[in-house]
C-alpha cells in the first residue's frame, strides 16, 4: 500500500500577486455513480408502492445528488470532462 504524498501549501505554484484560485469541490470525496442510480431505483420503488410523497422526495434527492456530481466533475482536478 502506497502512502499519500504530502499536501502542498496553497501558495505553491502561484505567481506572486496573482489572484487566488477559484474555489473548487475537487477535495470532496465523490459520490459513487452506482449509488446515484440506486437512489433513482429507490424512487421507482416508491412509485410502484404508491407512496407519492416519498417518491417526490426521492426524486428531489436523486436530482440534487446528480447535480452535485456534475459540479464535482466540472471542477475536479481529475480528467472528468468527457
Amino acid at each position: 500500500m502506497t502512502s499519500r504524498p504530502p499536501r502542498l501549501p496553497r501558495s505553491v505554484g502561484r505567481v506572486e500577486g496573482s489572484p487566488p484560485p477559484a474555489p473548487t469541490c475537487a477535495h470532496l470525496r465523490p459520490i459513487p455513480m452506482a449509488f446515484l442510480f440506486l437512489s433513482y431505483l429507490a424512487t421507482f420503488a416508491c412509485v410502484i408502492r404508491g407512496r407519492r410523497s416519498a417518491a417526490l422526495a426521492g426524486l428531489a434527492l436523486s436530482t440534487a445528488l446528480s447535480v452535485a456530481m456534475f459540479f464535482h466533475h466540472t471542477t475536479s482536478g481529475l480528467e472528468l470532462n468527457f
Binding site: 455513480m33 431505483l41 417526490l56
Partner: protein, 179 residues
C-alpha cells in the same frame, strides 16, 4: 371532466420511448464496446428522472406538479448534455470531431439534448390537454402502463449494476474507475 384514457396511453408511450433510448445506450456500451463517460452516465440519470416524472402520472393521475417534475428533470439532464456539446463543439485539427460514435451525423450527447428539449415541448402540450386529478387519487394502471413502469425500473437496476461493474464503488473517469 376526466382525463381521456388515450392521454395515459400516450404518457406511457413516452416512458417507453425514453426507455428505448436507454436501451440504445446499452447497445453502444456492450454491442459496440464504447464505455460510457461520466457525463454520459449523468445524462442517463436525467432521462431516468424524466421517466420517473411520467411514472407519477401513471401511478397517481395527471397533476401539474408531475409536469413540473418532468420539466425540472429535463432541464437538469439537458444542462448535462449541453455541457458536453459545448466541450466538443470546437474541433481540434488532426483529431476526430466530437466524442464517441455519431448516429445520423450527430453524437449521442447532441441527441440527448434534443430529447430533453422535446420532452419540455411535449410537456407544454400535455399541460394544455390534461386536467388535475383530485388529491389522493391512486390510479389503476392498465397492463401497458404497468409493463412500461416495470421495464423502466429494470433499466434503472441494469444501469446501477453496469455502472458498478464499470467503476466499482467510486467515481467514474473516462474509461472506468478513477485512479
Amino acid at each position: 371532466m376526466e382525463n381521456r384514457p388515450l392521454l395515459y396511453t400516450v404518457n406511457s408511450a413516452c416512458m417507453l420511448g425514453l426507455s428505448l433510448v436507454l436501451v440504445g445506450a446499452f447497445y453502444f456500451q456492450y454491442g459496440l464496446g464504447e464505455t460510457p463517460c461520466p457525463l454520459c452516465l449523468l445524462q442517463r440519470m436525467g432521462m431516468l428522472g424524466v421517466i420517473l416524472g411520467l411514472s407519477l402520472n401513471t401511478a397517481f393521475g395527471f397533476r401539474r406538479e408531475h409536469a413540473a417534475v418532468v420539466i425540472g428533470a429535463a432541464l437538469v439532464g439537458g444542462s448535462f448534455s449541453v455541457r458536453q456539446v459545448l466541450l466538443h463543439i470546437a474541433p481540434v485539427e488532426g483529431e476526430p470531431t466530437g466524442y464517441g460514435s455519431a448516429v445520423l451525423g450527430m453524437h449521442l450527447y447532441t441527441w440527448a439534448a434534443i430529447v430533453f428539449l422535446t420532452t419540455i415541448a411535449g410537456t407544454a402540450v400535455f399541460l394544455c390537454l390534461i386536467r388535475d386529478e383530485p388529491a389522493g387519487t391512486v390510479r389503476r394502471p392498465t397492463l401497458f402502463d404497468r409493463s412500461t413502469l416495470l421495464f423502466a425500473t429494470l433499466l434503472c437496476l441494469s444501469n446501477a449494476l453496469a455502472t458498478f461493474v464499470e467503476c466499482g464503488a467510486g467515481a467514474c473517469c473516462e474509461n472506468g474507475p478513477c485512479p
